[in-house]
């Protein structure tokens, strides 16, 4: 069985985007031309449904609406397979109220459950803010399960919470609390029973992707508290457990930044291997397990204890910033791959304990649902070897 089991799959449908945001973690732009075909996406969805525990398929990019009809066909396929879908868009298409209504209606009719719309200082040079307002208003008229505004701010950004509230004409709950640096859900469960669930997912700008070229370090918020908490918390919850597929058809261990081609995080080519096979390889990979179980900050501590001269920066704003540095800086990456074998015994024991816990959970899962109308199979976990 897989220990690092995935619940969601992000399909980076294309690296083409109508915008070239300075903070884009994926380096998307109008000049890039990578994209997945409709048959490829359909195949990935089918594989995810048949051989994994993936429940949610996320369409991202680049700008996924640039796929045109292929996107709607793909959304329909997700629905046919009984999975949920989420779309991340910059709303470039909402150029008028009627167009916004047409597109959101078409997305909903194709089965889209969750709509995420991005807006911030970095999108605004390319996207009219009114597009976002129109898309949001149109979506609110439909029964999406959730509508999330993804809003990224930093010490030098001008389009902040107040500007967002003014644009939308409403103050939405924030998913991320910037004051304490802690992620939390605003409001109570009451909101969860309403449909759609509407919120702002606000986050801090990071020194990552194109940001490492276009932004300065003083654009990145310094949050000492977050750093100490991250070290305490440990493992990365996204590594392998939230994999992505690149526009070239590579399975990636996450969508934190553009990891295609990276020796550590690029799991392999889906043109040559099945999704289940690559997920099995990833689950069995020492480096990815160390990232998932120890996490980037503990890896940094571990490496610095062994090789004090490694060129780590004094400060990182997030897991992903540090992880990007570990796996893309040649010196640090080499030290990581050279030293992690020392972690193998402990990782193996942790995984064994986790496997036992999974077995217990499966047993209880069956017990819990045994009186549900649709009773799960005794062992419904996919990917069992």
């Amino acid at each position: 069985m897989r220990i690092l089991e995935s619940q969601s799959l992000t399909i980076l449908t294309t690296d083409t985007c109508t915008a070239s945001c300075a903070h884009c973690c994926m380096n998307s732009s109008p000049t890039r031309r990578g994209r997945l075909s409709a048959p490829q996406i359909r195949d990935y969805i089918d594989q995810a449904a048949s051989s994994t525990t993936i429940k949610t398929v996320i369409f991202a990019g680049g700008e996924p609406l640039l796929l045109g009809e292929d996107l709607f066909l793909s959304l329909e396929r997700v629905r046919e397979k009984g999975m949920r879908s989420r779309l991340v868009t910059n709303a470039y298409w909402a150029t008028s109220e009627s167009r916004a209504r047409d597109v959101t209606r078409k997305l909903r009719d194709a089965g889209l459950d969750e709509l995420n719309i991005s807006i911030d200082d970095f999108h605004l040079p390319y996207i009219n803010s009114l597009n976002v307002k129109r898309a949001f208003d149109a979506a609110m008229l439909l029964d999406f399960e959730s509508i999330i505004i993804a809003h990224c701010t930093g010490p030098n950004t001008k389009f902040n919470d107040r500007e967002l509230d003014e644009l939308l004409g409403v103050t939405l709950p924030r998913i991320y609390d910037e004051e304490t640096g802690r992620k939390r859900r605003s409001g109570t469960e009451r909101e969860s029973v309403k449909r759609p669930y509407v919120a702002v997912s606000n986050s801090n700008v990071q020194y990552i992707g194109r940001g490492t070229v276009k932004l300065n370090m003083d654009d990145i918020p310094a949050r000492e508290e977050w750093r100490s908490e991250a070290r305490e918390v440990g493992g990365c919850p996204w590594a392998v457990r939230s994999p992505a597929i690149s526009p070239a058809g590579h399975l990636l261990s996450c969508c934190g930044f553009e990891v295609a081609g990276n020796e550590v995080l690029d799991i392999g080519d889906l043109n040559q291997h099945s999704l289940a096979q690559l997920l099995n390889d990833a689950d069995n990979d020492l480096a990815l397990n160390v990232i998932a179980i120890d996490g980037p900050y503990r890896i940094m501590d571990f490496l610095q204890a062994r090789e004090p001269g490694l060129p780590f920066r004094k400060q990182y704003g997030s897991f992903c910033e540090l992880c990007q540095h570990i796996v893309t800086d040649a010196t640090i990456r080499e030290a990581f791959l050279k030293n992690i074998s020392a972690r193998a015994p402990e990782i193996a024991v942790i995984r064994q304990a986790a496997a036992e816990q999974i077995e217990k959970d499966l047993e209880f899962e069956w017990l819990y649902h045994k009186s549900d109308p649709v009773q799960p199979a005794r062992d419904s976990r996919s990917g069992i070897e």
């Binding site: 959730s146 999330i148 996204w238 081609g261 480096a287 997030s318 015994p345």
Partner: protein, 256 residues
Amino acid sequence: MSEEQIKPNTTVGKGGRSLRNWSVLAQLRKDIAADPASMDRLREDPVKTLVEAGFDMDEPFAGPGLQGLSLRELVDKTPGIDKVLPAIVSSALDAMEATPLLERALPRPTHVPSPEDDVLPALVLANANAVANANANANANGDGAEPVQSSTMWDRNRHLSLLQSGSPATWPGGLKDTLFATAALNFRLLKMSEAKITELIERIANDPTRKLYEKQVNDGLREGFEHRHGDNIVEVRVLVSQEGTRVIESASVRPA
């Protein structure tokens, strides 16, 4: 990193990056703990014991003090190694013995519950991990915006910590004990152990799909949950305080 740089990746989960042989050793360690006689078999014929346990003799084996050679290479190229092989395997097992199980690698809660709170540990772990995961990139790609509804499924990976929403319901002091002492609550109808019933109640109290109602009360918000279990209905009430903490108020069972 552009797509043009992509090269076939043949290393993930293979060779020195494979955990398969370590998994075999972890199981072997467990077997030895359960049956000390298996240690004698290991000492007697380590290669046979390892192969029977599923160890891949041809896969490079990396670990502390190991150079990434396969065991077959070690055996073939090192005269007399058969004499020290048991010691090598023993030291690999010892390395795992020294492992503090689940202590170091799993996240610890940033909110330390008070002794009288019996907080659901797995959910606390999950929430603690969520603390560190507000990243802009995940936000941009949709992962940072997991709506509450997405987390309703009981998370099988919870011990390895995934994002969870909401704060977990806790037991107030004494309630768990009185549940089973009060015949009127009919828990015997479930024909389950007390531990399983406790787990069931915790699960229901944290499962939004089982929520039946919400009611504003003086102390906060009361949530009612119902779960049909076989021929019975389990009812759980939770009080959500103004600060957002959730406490299990009561639980009972009645025939459906």
